[in-house]
């Protein structure tokens, strides 16, 4: 069964460094998303992406964040200058219609 794949599974970085989280959505899906979950808290929406542009973003998704679909398969989330509070599990998701399929996540730890 097709699945959303995310790499790396774990990323440790120093505060102020840039990180890029990578995702390969399911191939025939048209809508892509990034969500995050701080340890012990609810899952929070970051950004949605359709037709090669951002369709919606949350207040969390400030100028430090950006998304890109550099080719026909990858979907990336970049954090330019990481902060301690960016430590979280970051989930990529995709859907062909309404039902959302999540990847297994990237655990980001900012030291």
């Amino acid at each position: 069964e097709p699945e959303v794949t995310q790499t790396p599974s774990h990323q440790v970085t120093q505060m102020g460094q840039e990180v890029i989280l990578r995702c390969v959505p399911i191939s025939n899906h048209l809508y892509f998303y990034w969500y995050r979950q701080i340890l012990g808290q609810k899952v929070e929406f970051l950004v949605s992406f359709y037709n090669n542009e951002i369709s919606e973003k949350s207040e969390i998704f400030d100028d430090q964040f950006s998304v890109e679909r550099p080719d026909g398969s990858n979907f990336t989330l970049k954090i330019r200058s990481t902060k301690l509070e960016d430590s979280a599990m970051y989930f990529c998701a995709s859907t062909p219609d309404e039902k959302l399929f999540f990847g297994s996540g990237t655990q980001l730890s900012v030291l």
Partner: protein, 109 residues
């Protein structure tokens, strides 16, 4: 934004027991989904159910959109059902999902 409240926050079940999880939401929705987050952190989509009733094996779900709630039923629970169950809603079909705080379920042998 839409407020999502889930109850109970925690549930401990003996293997074989049945349970009902509830999700209340504050405004009309066109998208409602239930997810299971397993102990390894994976989010598994259980149901897309903005209205009506669906069943999948031992799990079933009912959404009464006019009364702004959804129920998830777990029957004959197994230890593999342990984890956190999230309800998530959106006002439009492809919009951002607003997640509830989840129900932590522990199924004991």
């Amino acid at each position: 934004g839409i407020q999502v409240e889930q109850s109970p926050p925690d549930l401990i079940l003996q293997e074989g027991a049945n349970s009902t999880l509830r999700c209340n939401f504050s405004d009309s929705v066109n998208n409602l989904q239930w997810f299971h987050q397993n102990p390894w952190g994976q989010l598994i989509n259980l149901f897309y159910i903005p209205s009506g009733t669906k069943q999948n094996g031992r799990l079933s779900a009912t959404t009464v959109a006019t009364e702004r709630y959804s129920l998830l039923y777990i029957s004959s629970s197994q230890t593999t059902d342990s984890g956190v169950y999230f309800c998530a809603v959106a006002s439009d079909s492809w919009g951002k999902l607003q997640f509830g705080a989840g129900t932590q379920v522990v199924v004991t042998p």
